[in-house]
Subunit: 97 residues, 5 copies
């Protein structure tokens, strides 16, 4: 699941019937690129969320007839700080354990 920040809601009157009564959120990644997601969780602007994609996005709405490909799966409370050491690749040549 990708990590995104909520920017706000999307105003969109002309849409397919399968998304007629669904709230659409505008999300943004760290680089500022925006996408649109359905939101059964009730995330608020500036919340960081993780999103579920693919067919799981439809089931996550509680109704697979809602034709989304991206759904907010949860609001992130906090996450781990940067690791002290950040090797750029896994060890190779010899087993690790």
């Amino acid at each position: 699941m990708e990590i995104r920040r909520v920017v706000g809601s999307l105003v969109c009157t002309q849409r397919i019937a399968e998304l007629a009564h669904v709230d659409l959120r505008v999300l943004q990644d760290a680089a500022g690129r925006r996408v649109v997601a359905t939101d059964p969780v009730g995330a608020r602007p500036d919340d960081w969320v993780f999103v579920v994609s693919g067919s799981a996005a439809r089931y996550a709405m509680g109704n697979p007839a809602i034709l989304t490909d991206l759904t907010v799966g949860g609001v992130i409370d906090h996450w781990p700080p940067e690791a002290a050491s950040e090797p750029s690749s896994p060890p190779h040549g010899t087993p690790r354990r």
Copy 2:
């Protein structure tokens, strides 16, 4: 769902039977990259739209036998302005709420 702008229609006489009678739109992202989508909404050139991908794209045409992987889901009327503050990552180490 990704956000794209409508450029126009695609002329394509030699195509698979499952897309024979379907209008194909050329869409463009902010970087100018072009893709092709089916459009049950009737978007017009210069409209900004959001698109549904994967198997949901087929169902969004009202007929899963239409073998598209990208369908216009709605025409964007407007969206939120840039956020005042844009933190580059979620808070970490301590809970937010």
Copy 3:
């Protein structure tokens, strides 16, 4: 659907049984990156085509037992010229219509 140009055919004798009797095309994007696709349309080298991905690629072969994830959906005859104006983002803050 993504837009690609046909480079030629792929010679590949050692392959999975589900792709044994299928013509494989090498396609290239504008940046020169190459991918492999099945082709029920009969595209020729230098043709520009659009391709269908995901499970739709299997159905587009007329036989979902053909285990492709990318199928040529049609040959592009022509497409719209560049738009005169190219706004980099949709309007925001106020409705467009």
Copy 4:
């Protein structure tokens, strides 16, 4: 399957019911980009893992009702060293074998 490193666990109290009782891991790629995955394997921080995406991610949890799109498939013990020769493209024009 993509290769990622485990950073830690995600704290996320407000989430969809289908992910209510599932441990969520924060993973990171070599460039530092973070994603969220479900983990039936029990990977630990700093482990390098490979992840399964799409509908296979749900089945990999042993329960397709768990609405994830990314699941840890295994912990990498070690992998091959860099190849001595690294041709930038496959041979072409003449058969290899």
Copy 5:
């Protein structure tokens, strides 16, 4: 289908049951990025292969219970040389044929 080169095999003792008895290959793209794939074909190090992704990857193993999202579909013998002319975009404005 994407094109990748085989680097070697992955050693991975702690993995999900659905991948317990499957050979895992490390593949690399032209830029050196590595991914993990299942391999029913028996590709060898330095072979160039094409890979099938998504649900097709499971069926390509001959058993959809094998929870992979990437499977080697064939070993590339050779492919077409670079095209003499490489237009950067399809013709537009006027029909090609």
